[in-house]
Each structure stands twice: as structure tokens, then as C-alpha cells.
């Protein structure tokens, strides 16, 4: 089996098209299961009452906002080093989803901060570095769209993505390195004090958001492939274009 077969945009386009419905349904089922556990199985919190239920959307979107950035920077770096256009297209496809999840993380954080801390926003290290993450995504998207030649745009924005990735460990460790209003990690390698149903709900929602991000990025990368390969013979021979 040739491992590099699917690294060509034409075969990748076809395979991904077949995967999308399966991924989308898996994500939908996990969302329903995760929300069911989060709202109906997990008990009320002794300190935060029902407000803690924001966690089931806040934690998954926050984790994925950082993880997607690293994946995006990784694809961009591979595209830069090995000159593979599909890798750069993947980086471009991930950026809007990453930005959106960062926005949801900040929004839900504000809506959790207001009842618990008494403020929507505070310039502490965790919140500020997460806000910078959103601007890095915006910068990546803006820089890419400001350069006409797509391969040059790939290289310039790859450099931005790689340099910007230093921000991700800063976000992650900010609660240890500085005194933040934001709490530290509740789930650690050494264990957690969280109720088992709360953990199950959170992990299910992390998987759901993860699968959502994969699905929507693959949908977007197919659009990008068609746009950027529009002169290629295989595109004009696609059944959805021939009809």
C-alpha cells in the first residue's frame, strides 16, 4: 500500500467526501450523549450549583482551540518544509474553526466568570493569552488572504503560525506561572476530585467537539481543494461538475 496515495489532492478529495457523513453523525451522537450526561446525569455542584454546567462546553472548546492551533501550525510547517500543497490547504481549513472555538471559549468563559467572579472579563494571564490566540488565528487568516499567489500565502502564513505556537504553552501553563483569577487544572495526571458523571460528560463533549472540528475542517478543505485545483483535469471530470 502506498501511504502517500492520499497526499494528492485528487484522491484525498474523494476519500474525505466518503468519510464526512460518518464523522458528522458520530459528532452529532456524541453531542447528544454528552449534553444528556452533562444536564441530566451529572449532579449539581455544591459550590457553583447549576452554573458549573457551562464547563461541558467551555472546557472542550478551550482545549480544542489550543490543540487545533498546534495541528494547524504542524500542517503549515510540513507544507513549508516539504512543499506539499495539501498540508498548507489543511492549515487554511483549520484556522476558521480554531478561531470560532477560541471565540466560544472566551464567550462561555465570560458567561461563567460573571456569576462566579463577578466580572465578565479580567486581564489575567489565562484570559489574555487565550485572547491572543484568537488574534493569531485572525492574523493567519488575514495574512493568507492578503497575498494573491496561494503558495506564497502558504509560506508567509506558515511562518506566522509557527512563531505564534509559542503562545499555546503560555496559555496552558499560565495558571501555574502567574497568579490568575482563572482556576488551575482540575483534571491532572495524578487524578481528579471531579464526580465521575461530570468527568464522563466532559470527556464525551471533548470527543464531540473534536469530531465536529474534524468534520467541518474536512468539509472546508474540500472547498479549498476545488478552488485551488480548479484548472486540474481531475476537477473538471468530477461527476458533480460534469452534470
Amino acid at each position: 500500500m502506498n501511504l502517500f496515495k492520499y497526499s494528492s489532492p485528487s484522491s484525498f478529495y474523494g476519500v474525505v467526501g466518503k468519510m464526512i457523513p460518518w464523522l458528522a453523525w458520530s459528532a452529532a451522537i456524541l453531542f447528544v450523549a454528552g449534553l444528556y450526561i452533562g444536564f441530566f446525569v451529572a449532579p449539581s455542584d455544591t459550590q457553583q450549583s447549576e452554573a458549573y454546567r457551562i464547563m461541558f462546553i467551555h472546557v472542550p472548546t478551550s482545549i480544542l482551540s489550543m490543540f487545533i492551533y498546534l495541528v494547524m501550525a504542524g500542517y503549515a510547517a510540513i507544507g513549508l518544509i516539504f512543499n506539499t500543497r495539501l498540508s498548507s490547504m489543511m492549515a487554511s481549513a483549520l484556522a476558521p474553526t480554531g478561531a470560532l472555538l477560541t471565540f466560544i471559549s472566551l464567550w462561555t468563559g465570560a458567561f461563567w466568570g460573571k456569576p462566579m467572579w463577578g466580572t465578565w472579563w479580567v486581564w489575567d494571564a489565562r484570559l489574555t493569552s487565550e485572547l491572543i490566540l484568537m488574534f493569531l488565528y485572525f492574523g493567519f487568516i488575514a495574512l493568507h488572504s492578503s497575498i494573491d499567489d496561494p503558495r506564497r500565502a502558504d509560506r508567509a502564513s506558515a511562518l506566522l503560525a509557527i512563531i505564534g505556537s509559542v503562545n499555546v504553552p503560555i496559555i496552558y501553563f499560565s495558571v501555574q506561572w502567574w497568579n490568575t483569577l482563572h482556576q488551575g487544572a482540575t483534571v491532572k495526571l495524578t487524578g481528579t476530585s471531579m464526580h465521575i458523571a461530570m468527568q464522563q460528560g466532559m470527556y464525551t463533549m471533548i470527543l464531540a467537539v473534536w469530531l465536529y472540528a474534524i468534520t467541518v475542517s474536512l468539509m472546508r478543505v474540500r472547498n479549498i481543494i476545488l478552488e485551488r485545483e480548479c484548472k486540474a483535469q481531475w476537477v473538471s471530470e468530477l461527476p458533480e461538475i460534469r452534470r
Binding site: E50, R53, I54, H58, P115, M219, I241
Partner: protein, 56 residues
């Protein structure tokens, strides 16, 4: 537990539903935008192909 208690979220309704509402809205908008973009790209490529067919 009844439904009005559920939606009241023990006084935290604004914060809980404000969070989930915005998350749902954002994800739905993203899906719609990506799908519409896909339809538009395919339509444009189809037009390009058909005009090439008639010209050549």
C-alpha cells in the same frame, strides 16, 4: 424535576443558556457558511466547464 426548574438553572439561566445558545449559534452558522461555500464553488466550476465545452 420539572422542566421549568430545568430551564431556570437555579437562577443561572442567563449564564448557562447564554453560553450554550451562543455556542450552538456559532457552530450552526459555521456549518451553513461552509456548505453554502461548497455549493457556490461547485456551481462556478460547472459554469466554467460548460462555457469551455461550448467555446471549444
Amino acid at each position: 424535576m420539572n422542566w421549568s426548574d430545568f430551564f431556570a438553572m437555579n437562577g443561572y439561566a442567563l449564564y448557562v443558556w447564554g453560553s450554550y445558545g451562543m455556542a450552538l449559534l456559532a457552530l450552526l452558522i459555521e456549518i451553513i457558511v461552509v456548505r453554502r461555500k461548497g455549493i457556490a464553488v461547485l456551481r462556478r466550476l460547472r459554469i466554467v466547464r460548460n462555457t469551455e465545452d461550448t467555446v471549444l
